[in-house]
């Protein structure tokens, strides 16, 4: 790709970007949120049209004007935002547009399901290919996306943050697959904010900043800190700034909580001033637990206390009134009203407070939104930009702002830093520090073990709907967490966290 | 265990109207109902929701045939489209009485038989209105017409009758002819617009009283009450009142209640095996202030 330029109303997304990809390499694309990574790749995949520049494939200039023409050229893409049809099954999604068919048009269902099952199994996803995508978890949807991209014999594979919703096990298997493709001579573009992945699979790395290429390096020839400096244009010292006081009163207590088929016998408590990490593999029941805590789904057994009082929450509205806030993992489906502006999304849960006599105070709204745009460095042309036009990471920041703006003191964060660049993560961690300092408690669900280890005071690990282990942050390490998440060595690790019992 | 509707032993007569969303047919129903009560007839009245819907009318007839009524009285929504339905009734051996709208002449070729036609002619009514202008209004008029739904047979016939009557008359000029879809509010709007473009209009022929009554209010809103002569059609109660008050000049009366009465009476005679005339004309009259006052 030569001198690619692309502008959106109010934003210059790419400015004369050069980018090349060799067969059999993994070219990692790094950059802050809104740097233009996804845009560049969408131009290559035919989703967007470039304003200027040229695309060469094996030396030949090519015209990529639709996603279909990119596919014909052997370019396969995993987009950052899921592009799945919610009502259709996993198998149908995987082969959408390329259904195996017989007699010109009749779909061969057996082959469809068989091949889909095979692909998913290769990725280690234990999901039934005939389930509708809308009832899959975010991680499972991500696996479907990966399988979909792998189902074509591609020369070029674009992967835009494929691991942001995955946890350890799946990531390993995915990397295996990537290496396999590499050996077959497939060129892979890989975008991620998890820098540790770079060393593991990257061949070369290109850093983008504000739509410009800063530099291209061979992996191994450049230090991580240097890359971070190039991305952010500043130094970043402490990746996990932990500042914590002694925990205060109990905010949330859960005893023997169970929801049929999803989780059982869950007990823990959350106190003022602490961050409780919740780790586990995909499908271990973390999100299901969070949904129950927030009053979205009902529980069948056990009890729930908030601020020392037993409560039964029947709706998110009641949960919010009780002082809870819930950052959902699926920002597009559950977090954002995409066609509303940044300002309107940020203020949505706080409108009661921001309006008098039912009339919304726009000034206050704007102030609120501006505060977060500045403190979280959300890249947007204005407060009035519909969030659908923001980059993935910036959308995530909007969801986060929306809950930080509320008056909650019990926060449930489900994958809060999903898709967020490393610089902004630190800022978010600092915000979490401030929240705990102000007396809030945070239940942080995360699949990124470094984040769990770096920020939590105590750590719970879920396995198949049960709390499999409890640690304090001092006793935990990656290996212990992973073993517990896999359901091994439970009894040994279990005792440690009881140091501060829930009672 | 199931009620047998015919168990009363009373003769069952079905009356299928074009619609009941129109006072004209409500009057017809009333006339029929009164006769049925008087004569001890079990009367079933059915109508399509929409007057235009010839196929729904056919469905209703098919369904009533299933209940083996003793006689079927129908106001055809379409003069040709009714023929297949009549054929079905013939096949089931159910006598058919046609009301209000004549069946197309091609019925004979098709072999469709009906026992009688009770009613008057919409075309004739239109002619009456036209002749009234020629004869009673001194033959001088700038006429606006409010049409029904374009392509709807009833309105077409009235319109053709009217146009034929005034054709060739030197003093009568049609300056505007616009559809108001049989509706009162559209009668208002359309005539208000016509008045803007053609303030010289001095006579209005509306293919139904509902549209005329809407236009009446538009005229009042323009402050021109009394300046425009309005001739409606159907002679609804409200129109008669307007005629009595002098805000409307005339309307064509088809006496639908009488049609209803005659339908039930003759259906009963037919069921009893008596002969009935093949055509029973019902008066069609121009109603003006005199007629209203003498009632």
């Amino acid at each position: 790709m030569k001198a690619i330029t692309k502008a959106f109303p109010g934003v210059k997304a790419l400015e004369s970007v050069d980018f090349d990809l060799h067969a059999g390499e993994v070219h990692v694309l790094l950059g802050e949120n809104g740097a233009g990574k996804s845009t560049l790749m969408k131009i290559l995949s035919g989703a967007y049209q470039r304003d200027a520049g040229e695309i060469l494939l094996q030396g030949q200039p090519v015209e990529i004007d639709t996603p279909a023409s990119a596919q014909h050229l052997g370019i396969s893409t995993i987009y950052q935002e899921f592009n799945l049809i919610p009502q259709m099954s996993a198998a149908e999604n995987i082969f959408l547009g390329r259904e195996p068919s017989k007699w010109g048009g009749i779909i061969d269902r057996e082959r469809l399901h068989g091949e889909a099952a095979l692909l998913l199994a290769e990725l280690g996803a234990s999901l039934d290919p005939s389930t509708a995508v809308r009832s899959l978890s975010v991680a499972e949807q991500q696996m479907v996306e990966v399988a979909k991209a792998l189902s074509v014999e591609a020369r070029i594979l674009i992967m835009d943050e494929p691991t942001s919703a995955l946890s350890g096990g799946e990531i390993r298997l995915l990397f295996e697959t990537i290496r396999g493709l590499q050996r077959k001579g497939v060129g892979i573009v890989y975008i991620s904010h998890r820098l540790e992945e770079l060393a593991e699979i990257g061949s070369r790395v290109t850093v983008l900043r504000d739509g410009l290429v800063v530099a291209t390096h061979r992996v191994g020839e450049v230090a991580l800190d240097e890359l971070i400096r190039q991305m952010a244009n500043r130094e970043l010292k402490d990746h996990f700034p932990r500042q914590r006081e002694a925990p205060g009163d109990e905010l949330l207590r859960v005893e023997d909580l169970g929801a049929r088929g999803r989780f059982h016998g869950v007990s823990f408590s959350l106190c003022r001033g602490e961050i409780l990490g919740l780790a586990g593999l995909v499908g271990s029941g973390r999100t299901a637990l969070a949904r129950v805590l927030f009053g979205i789904d009902r529980f069948d057994s056990g009890s729930l206390w908030v601020h020392g009082r037993p409560v039964s929450l029947n709706s998110p509205r009641q949960a919010i009134a009780a002082g809870l806030g819930f950052l959902t993992e699926d920002r597009k489906a559950e977090g954002l009203v995409l066609n509303l502006s940044l300002r309107e999304n940020v203020s949505l849960p706080s409108l009661d407070r921001l309006s008098s006599w039912g009339v919304v105070n726009r000034k206050a709204e704007q102030e609120l939104a501006r505060g977060f745009v500045e403190s979280l460095r959300i890249k947007t042309p204005s407060m009035e930009q519909p969030v659908v036009y923001l980059s993935g990471g910036n959308q995530q920041k909007v969801v986060l702002s929306k809950w930080l703006a509320g008056r909650a003191d019990v926060f449930i964060f489900d994958e809060p830093t999903r898709g967020i660049d490393i610089g902004s993560k630190v800022e978010i961690y600092q915000l979490m520090n401030r929240l705990t300092a102000e007396g809030a408690g945070i239940l942080m669900i995360s699949s990124e073990l470094p984040e769990i280890l770096g920020m939590s005071d105590r750590i719970l690990v879920m396995h198949e709907g049960r709390i499999a282990a409890r640690f304090t942050h001092l006793e935990a390490d990656q290996e212990k967490l992973l073993q517990a998440a896999l359901g091994r060595g439970v009894s040994r690790a279990g005792a440690g966290a009881q140091g501060r019992p829930a009672e | 265990h199931r009620g047998e509707p015919a168990d009363s032993g009373k003769p069952r007569v079905a009356l299928v109207l074009k619609t009941l969303n129109n006072p004209f047919f409500i009057e017809m129903q009333r006339g029929a109902r009164e006769a049925a009560d008087r004569l001890g007839v079990d009367l079933v009245v059915q109508a399509a929701e929409r007057e235009l819907d010839v196929e729904k009318q056919m469905q209703i007839i098919e369904n009533l045939i299933q209940t083996r009524v003793d006689a079927l009285c129908v106001t055809p929504s379409g003069s040709k489209e009714i023929i297949p339905a009549i054929l079905k009734a013939n096949r089931a051996g159910i006598p058919v009485l046609i009301l209000d709208t004549k069946v197309d002449a091609s019925a004979e070729q098709e072999g469709a038989r009906f026992d009688t036609f009770i009613g008057s002619d919409n075309y004739q009514g239109g002619r009456l209105a036209g002749q009234f202008i020629l004869e009673q209004l001194g033959g001088k008029a700038k006429v606006a017409i409010l049409e029904g739904i374009p392509g709807h047979e009833t309105g077409d016939n009235r319109l053709r009758g009217f146009r034929d009557a005034i054709a060739g008359a030197p003093g009568v000029e049609i300056v505007a002819s616009q559809p108001a879809n049989w509706e009162r509010d559209q009668g208002f709007n359309v005539f208000q617009n016509i008045l803007e473009a053609h303030p010289e209009v001095d006579t209005l022929f509306a293919c139904s009283d509902l549209m005329a009554l809407g236009a009446l209010e538009a005229i009042a809103a323009a402050g021109r009450t009394g300046e425009i002569r309005i001739i409606g059609f159907d002679a609804l109660a409200e129109a008669r009142q307007a005629i009595a008050e002098g805000t409307m000049l005339a309307s064509i009366a088809q006496f639908s209640d009488e049609m209803g009465r005659l339908a039930v009476e003759n259906a009963l005679r037919r069921i009893r095996g008596e002969e009935i005339p093949s055509s029973i004309p019902v008066r069609i009259e121009l109603i003006t202030k005199e007629q209203v006052d003498t009632r």
């Binding site: 109303p9 927030f294 979205i296 709706s315 998110p316 509205r317 949960a319 009134a321 819930f326 959902t328 489906a333 559950e334 977090g335 954002l336 009203v337 995409l338 066609n339 509303l340 309107e344 949505l348 849960p349 409108l351 009661d352 309006s355 039912g358 009339v359 919304v360 726009r362 519909p386 929306k402 | 009941l20 969303n21 129109n22 006072p23 409500i26 049409e147 374009p150 392509g151 505007a176 002819s177 616009q178 559809p179 509706e183 009162r184 509010d185 208002f188 709007n189 359309v190 208000q192 617009n193 016509i194 803007e196 473009a197 009554l213 809407g214 209010e217 009042a220 809103a221 109660a237 409200e238």
Partner: protein, 309 residues
């Protein structure tokens, strides 16, 4: 940007239409005709207000026409029974609001698709109006009531004034208040709204009740204008109201739309019908012209939007 562009496009469509008519007919651009047009638009425009709220919330309301009829006959029968004007008006409004509320409850608590619940209400309210009146219109009212249609304040007819007030208040409601914001949020992403603590059921019910209410306001004007309330009034009004909203840029997928757009949409339809009458276009051709103009007006808009992006 896209919002503004959208509204601008339809406005251009309206202006083009007006210019065309001004060229074709000497009667079009006269003050009295313009007042006529706006007055004739009032009923549809007011119904389209509630419809816009409903569509913005990703719903649909097919029952508006029948609610017009039902609340009209309730109002008229109160008037004829000698009830004082304010009471009769209130009864009419209450009837409309109640029908709308039932729609809302069926949708939220009964979990019916809006199309089904309002389709059912469309039949039921119409049937109720017919049964209540035995199919006969109720006509002839006192001057104080008829003033609502025939009166003028300054040179503005009262219906136009009512329409103005309804639009102003509803515009504020939709664009400035929490209620309005929740309407957009529900239409844009109902689940996200729910998870943000919006009481979706309550708000949706209110939105449909509001639509019933605006239909009842339209019924007042219609009844006063025709000096008659008919059980068959309002036939197919739903189509005109939806058309006004959609021409005005409201998306049937929800989450998008403005009342200024709807007003422009309603005016386009009103001006078009007025123009056809002024020009004396033959009745068969009218349908072709109406269809083509609607398509063209929105095409202008779509083209402008494509340009912009």
């Amino acid at each position: 940007m896209s919002h503004l562009g959208r509204r601008f496009g339809t406005l251009l469509g309206l202006v083009l239409l007006c210019v065309t008519l001004w060229i074709l007919s000497p009667y079009f651009l006269t003050p009295s005709n313009l007042v006529n047009v706006v007055q004739q638009t009032a009923v549809n425009a007011i119904i389209a207000v509630g419809m816009t709220f409903v569509i913005v919330s990703a719903g649909i309301d097919l029952s508006v026409g029948s609610i017009v009829a039902f609340s009209g006959v309730i109002l008229a029968s109160c008037l004829q029974a000698g009830a004082p004007l304010p009471l009769a008006l209130l009864a009419g409004l209450a009837a409309g609001g109640a029908c709308g509320l039932v729609n809302g409850l069926l949708i939220t608590w009964g979990r019916l698709p809006p199309f089904i619940s309002t389709l059912g209400m469309m039949s039921v309210a119409r049937g109720a109006a017919l049964v209540y009146t035995q199919g006969r219109p109720i006509s002839g009212f006192e001057a104080d009531f008829r003033f609502l249609a025939t009166g003028e304040l300054g040179f503005l007819p009262v219906p136009v004034l009512i329409m103005g007030v309804v639009y102003l208040l509803s515009h504020l409601l939709l664009s400035r208040t929490r209620f309005g914001r929740y309407t957009y949020a529900i239409g844009g992403n109902e689940e996200a709204a729910q998870l943000s603590g919006v009481s979706v059921r309550f708000h949706k019910s209110m939105i449909y009740a509001f639509s019933g209410l605006t239909s009842a306001v339209a019924a007042i004007i219609l009844t006063a204008r025709l000096n008659s309330a008919q059980p068959i009034a309002g036939f197919m009004y739903e189509l005109d109201a939806i058309a006004a909203a959609v021409i005005g840029g409201t998306s049937l997928l929800g989450g998008e739309g403005t009342l200024t757009g709807t007003l422009i949409g309603a005016l386009i339809m009103g001006v078009l019908r007025n123009g056809l009458n002024l020009l004396g276009v033959s009745s068969f051709l009218q349908q072709i012209v109406i269809g083509s103009v609607i398509i063209t007006a929105v095409l202008v808009d779509a083209l402008l939007k494509r340009r912009a992006s």
